[in-house]
């Protein structure tokens, strides 16, 4: 298994800087955001949220390797976020399931009763 410092070395050999990672993460986050905004299917919305979270994870790891490769706090954060997002997905899916049972619909447009 490669240490984080070695990863950074390999990446450097491949000509990858932190900017590449951040670029990918930005694109991922943007895609996720666009998906959340535009999708009408609740399951798809949840998946897009996961995409956004993963973009954030990527930023954490990349910045950690860039700033201080011997320290692993960024990675630890990423692990935490993964755990939380797993829990969030479970809860989210349970809510979607409950909604579907009650209304026979997973369309976001159908759940707009909470307004003035």
């Amino acid at each position: 298994m490669m240490m984080s410092a070695e990863v950074a070395e390999v990446a450097a050999v491949a000509g990858l800087t932190v900017h590449h990672y951040l670029g990918v993460a930005t694109i991922l986050f943007g895609l996720g955001f666009a998906g959340v905004v535009s999708s009408r299917h609740l399951i798809r919305t949840l998946m897009c949220v996961e995409l956004m979270l993963n973009a954030v994870n990527l930023v954490f790891v990349a910045i950690n390797n860039h700033v201080n490769p011997s320290d692993l706090s960024g990675q630890v954060f990423a692990i935490f976020i993964l755990t939380i997002s797993a829990a969030e997905a479970a809860v989210g899916l349970a809510i979607v399931l409950a909604l579907f049972k009650n209304t026979a619909s997973v369309d976001v447009e159908d759940f707009s009763r909470l307004k003035w």
Partner: protein
């Protein structure tokens, strides 16, 4: 002296503590409920009969202290009496340390003996008077509380301590006036007493603070006193007065003295703060005798005696003010007393008038005479009130003298003691009132002829209205409807005991019977005091003044008997001739109406204005804030579509927008 009286003398701090313990035991013991093992019903932990026993034991122990203090005083020649002061720290804040303690000197011995002796008799009397009242035990608890406060006041070493106990006697007075609080009149009277006293006490407090402000450095740098000496200790007032008269302008000295005098003005019912005292007669009669005749109202005179050095350095401002306040009070009280039909109200106005005599004496610088009158008055006025209580009790709570008459046959002991009290207060036949009142009159003649003439006339009026109450109550035919009961032995015993000092105490302490004169011990001699009277000077004038005043009093008695006993003159005709004066007297000089007017016109109007301001300006602002928030909220609710995508998009683009704004503002 043996160890026994040494113990009583050296532990004066116990004196206020006994009644405090009695009060706490009674209140706690009566509040805790237990199940009676025999009947299974709930009863108080302390049986009812223990309340009078505890209270009277506490007072009796105090009387033992007082007796050993009297022994101590008379065992030494009066030139050699050294006051004994003991202090304990009460509270300290920074370099300001207030103390609490006991001061043993001639003045405190005087008050200590009066308060404990009269209290004990009145407590015994109370057992007879209140036996059938529901609040019997509670009443004794309050009596103990009053004794604690009064004895703490008497033994106070310094002005702050005196102020604290001064307020405490006010509280106990309030509780006792309103003892029958289910009667609206009693509840109102207790409130009135409290509020009127608040006015005076506020002035008193400001006076104390003024005094402290101008003398704090002096006290802290003063070395002439014992190092344990308290701040604002009465013992240091003589030196303080010397210091102040050199450093402060006369108007400031006068202001401080008058502010301090505001306390006695309210507590001793001086015009125009006297209105609470007649109303205070709504309380049970033993209270009227103890608090509102013999002890608490006299505390004002006692306070003037204590701070006399501070007053005497303002001979052109404070002293005339005090004199004329006293004179006006004496005259107004006597005039109102003439037309009163309620026996207790008549006695209350008489008390007010006599307090006016004492205060006037103080203002004239006749320190000894004022205190002597306080001393004798305590005995005969307490007795008169107790007699009125006995009459009221026998007549089934009737207080109107028009419904009495001819009670001498039914109530011989009460009638006789009442007659003795009446003679004593009129100053006839060398009874105790004669000595003290004539000492005041002699001082007045020496100082100010106008005051002398007014006070002598008032003394005649005193004889007139006091004999009027006597004739209306005890002579002639019975006019009432109530069935007259017989005298209660528990109630007549204190009357008989009090009759003895009422007759003889003046003569005994006058210096003519071999016992040292009252004035030998209780004198105040400040070298530079302009109004200082040596006691012998008064003696020299005695015969002349005494004869005139006896003559005037006899004229008063004669007129009174002509009107109310022999019925030579008809009162109706005189009422018509003196119509303005009569209506003035009947309406108590309109003082209550004036206060009503001030309260309604001033305070109520002001509060209505304030209420309007609160309603329209303050509330308006608050409502405006609420309305604006509500309107803005209504505007924004439209954005709340309920569509998730819209929300998310708003958040996302909002973040980007904020970031762009940040870039533009700080980086661009």
């Amino acid at each position: 002296m043996n160890w026994f009286s040494d113990f009583f003398l050296n532990n004066l701090w116990l004196v206020p503590l006994y009644p405090l313990l009695a009060f706490l035991t009674i209140s706690i013991g009566r509040a805790i409920q237990i199940n009676d093992p025999q009947t299974g019903e709930k009863t108080a932990l302390l049986p009812q009969i223990s309340a009078p026993i505890l209270t009277m034991t506490a007072t009796g122990l105090g009387l033992l202290h007082a007796i050993s203090a009297i022994q101590w005083l008379f065992a030494q020649p009066h030139e050699a009496v050294q006051a004994v002061e003991r202090n304990w720290t009460w509270l300290s804040a920074g370099n300001l340390e207030l103390k609490i303690g006991t001061l043993l000197d001639a003045n405190s011995v005087l008050m200590l003996s009066v308060v404990t002796f009269v209290s004990l008799l009145i407590q015994y009397y109370t057992h007879g008077y209140m036996r059938h009242d529901k609040g019997y035990a509670k009443f004794f608890g309050y009596l103990a509380l009053f004794n604690f406060s009064m004895l703490g006041l008497v033994l106070a070493t310094n002005l702050p301590q005196m102020y604290m106990f001064w307020e405490l006697v006010g509280v106990s007075s309030y509780l006792l006036i309103g003892f029958w609080f289910h009667k609206p009149a009693a509840a109102a009277a207790s409130l009135k007493a409290f509020l009127v006293n608040r006015v005076g006490d506020f002035g008193f407090l400001i006076g104390i603070l003024f005094l402290l402000f101008f003398s704090l450095n002096w006290w802290q740098g003063y070395v002439g006193l014992h190092p344990e000496q308290a701040l604002l200790s009465f013992q240091g007032f003589e030196s303080l007065a010397g210091f102040m008269s050199q450093t402060l302008p006369p108007w400031l000295l006068g202001t401080i003295a008058i502010l301090i005098f505001a306390g006695p003005m309210a507590k001793s019912a001086q015009f125009p703060l006297h209105t609470w005292l007649p109303d205070a007669m709504e309380g049970p009669t033993p209270i009227s005798a103890l608090i509102h005749a013999a002890t608490m109202v006299a505390a004002g005179v006692y306070l003037i005696a204590r701070v006399f050095p501070i007053i005497s350095i303002s001979p052109d401002m404070a002293m005339p003010f005090i004199t004329w306040t006293g004179v006006i009070t004496a005259v107004v009280g006597a005039i109102i007393a003439v037309s009163q039909t309620d026996i207790k109200k008549a006695l209350a106005y008489s008390t007010m008038s006599q307090l006016g005599f004492m205060v006037a004496a103080m203002g004239l610088g006749a320190y000894t005479a004022g205190l002597f009158h306080l001393f004798t008055h305590a005995f005969f006025k307490a007795m008169l009130f107790l007699c009125s209580g006995s009459v009221i009790h026998a007549c089934e709570d009737e207080q109107d003298m028009r419904q009495m008459g001819g009670l001498f046959k039914k109530l011989p002991i009460t009638g006789l003691t009442y007659l003795i009290g009446t003679i004593a207060i009129s100053g006839l036949f060398w009874t105790s009132g004669f000595w003290s009142k004539d000492e005041i009159l002699a001082a007045a003649l020496h100082e100010n002829t106008a005051v002398y003439l007014i006070l002598t006339a008032t003394a005649g009026l005193t004889a007139f209205y006091m004999f009027r109450t006597f004739f209306m109550t005890f002579m002639g035919d019975y006019r009432g409807k109530a069935h007259v009961h017989h005298e209660d032995k528990v109630m007549t015993l204190p009357l008989q005991i009090l009759a003895i000092p009422s007759i003889f105490i003046g003569l005994v302490l006058s210096g003519f019977v071999g016992i040292p004169a009252f004035g030998d011990y209780i004198t105040y001699s400040l070298q530079n005091a302009p109004e200082h009277h040596p006691h012998s000077l008064l003696d020299a004038m005695f015969n002349q003044v005494g004869n005139i005043s006896q003559l005037v009093a006899l004229v008063g008695v004669g007129l009174s008997s002509a009107f109310y006993y022999f019925k030579v003159f008809k009162t109706d005709g005189v009422k018509k001739v003196l119509a303005p004066l009569y209506s003035l007297s009947q309406n108590k000089f309109y003082m209550d109406d004036i206060y009503d007017g001030i309260v309604e016109g001033g305070v109520l109007l002001q509060s209505q204005l304030n209420a309007g301001f609160d309603k329209y300006v303050i509330d308006g602002l608050v409502n405006l804030v609420g309305t604006v928030t509500l309107l803005l909220g209504k505007l924004v609710t439209r954005l709340n579509s309920g569509r998730l995508q819209t929300y998310v998009a708003t958040i996302g683009f909002g973040v980007v927008g904020v970031w762009l704004l940040y870039q533009w503002m700080f980086k661009g």
